[in-house]
Amino acid sequence: MKNIKQASLDPDLSEKRKEVKKKLKKLEGLPSLPPIIQRLNQMIEDERTSLHQIAELIEKDQVITTKILRLANSAFYGFPRKVSTVQQAMMLLGLNVLKILIMTSSIFEFIHKEDIGLWEHSIGVAACSKIIAEKIGLGDAQEIATAGLLHDLGRVVIRVIFKEDQQKISDLISQGVDPLSAEKKILGIDHAEIGAFLMAQWNLPERLIEAVAFHHNLENSKKFRKEASILHLADLLVHARGYGKTPYEGLPPFEVRALKYLGLGWGEIKEILFNLEPRLYELKFFTEELKKEISTENREP
């Protein structure tokens, strides 16, 4: 399949695109980042701060501590042992990942019952990305898992702050327009770019931003083509296995050159899928639990 290069956006769309970015910049309608993030940033920059002090700060916040431990223990990081303290989580995951976990858990909190399939998909892609990163020996597989978790952040954001546009996008998709073009037609920008834009606003590492920005557009990636290719492949494999739910009824478009960029053959793809299966089995318990929680929360006034 050839990707038809879109002609330059018509004026209405480029206006819309500006409007979307403006809204994102001001984080209008987005859950504000918990104040703890700012404190955390200061502490991380201050070299005199010890990891112990950082852990102490986080542990003061019960809700965030619970969230961190729950995510760290969910099988997508796949630690053999239960992570029971923030300090342990910090040592296993690194500060960057920890920071991201705090941020994303506040975004994903806005996910509703009908959207949990997307969250499930993201968790599956996180697990798969980590397996692929380890397979090809790419450094800091934890960080790649986190990029996997965030790859559809833009879709979450569209659902949370551009509700009316989301409806129009869904309508187009049900008329047979492919999801990426539908997003571009309505918003002038797609979810990959939105996610990356927001991540840049949050000062997340460039590696994560680029991976998310180009996970549907490998050709345009520059410094982190392997990372983007990992997300691209993980996204396909998780869809192919039927884990979670996204706007794609079947499979997302696949660029086979991802395999070339990663140096992977079919034997390795097979190993990756066979390693992924038990991970997904374990993750299912975690997401089912979340589903139950969300549906009881929604029932309460």
């Binding site: 192919a240 039927g242 899928l273 089912e288």
Partner: protein, 106 residues
């Protein structure tokens, strides 16, 4: 056999394989009937999952092989790219192997 998180374990279930802690030490052999105390100890030692004999818990999200295969066909409907079809073949193989294993072992 069925792999279960600790919260699903009940006394009386039998281990299908050894239970290890994070350091790889054996906490419990195979074919051992679980007791309340043992499950408590697993919690304390940070065990996350234990594989038990049979399929004592009905998991509402689990599908039969037939369901899995027909859903796989649906996801790949209209796909004729040979690379994607290769992935489909691997998944089929995976499903057959998975269900074969649980049949012959349970």
């Amino acid at each position: 056999m069925q792999r279960l998180p600790l919260s699903y374990l009940k006394p009386g279930m039998k281990t299908y394989e050894e239970v290890y802690d994070a350091q790889g030490r054996v906490l419990c052999g195979k074919g051992v009937e679980l007791t309340e105390e043992m499950i408590k100890r697993f919690y304390e030692l940070g065990v996350s999952y234990v594989t038990v004999e049979g399929t004592p818990v009905k998991l509402p999200w689990e599908k039969s092989l037939e369901e899995e295969l027909s859903e796989l066909e649906k996801r790949f409907e209209g796909v004729n790219d040979e690379n994607l079809l290769q992935i489909k073949e691997i998944l089929k193989e995976l499903l057959y192997e998975k269900y074969q294993a649980s049949l012959s072992r349970s």
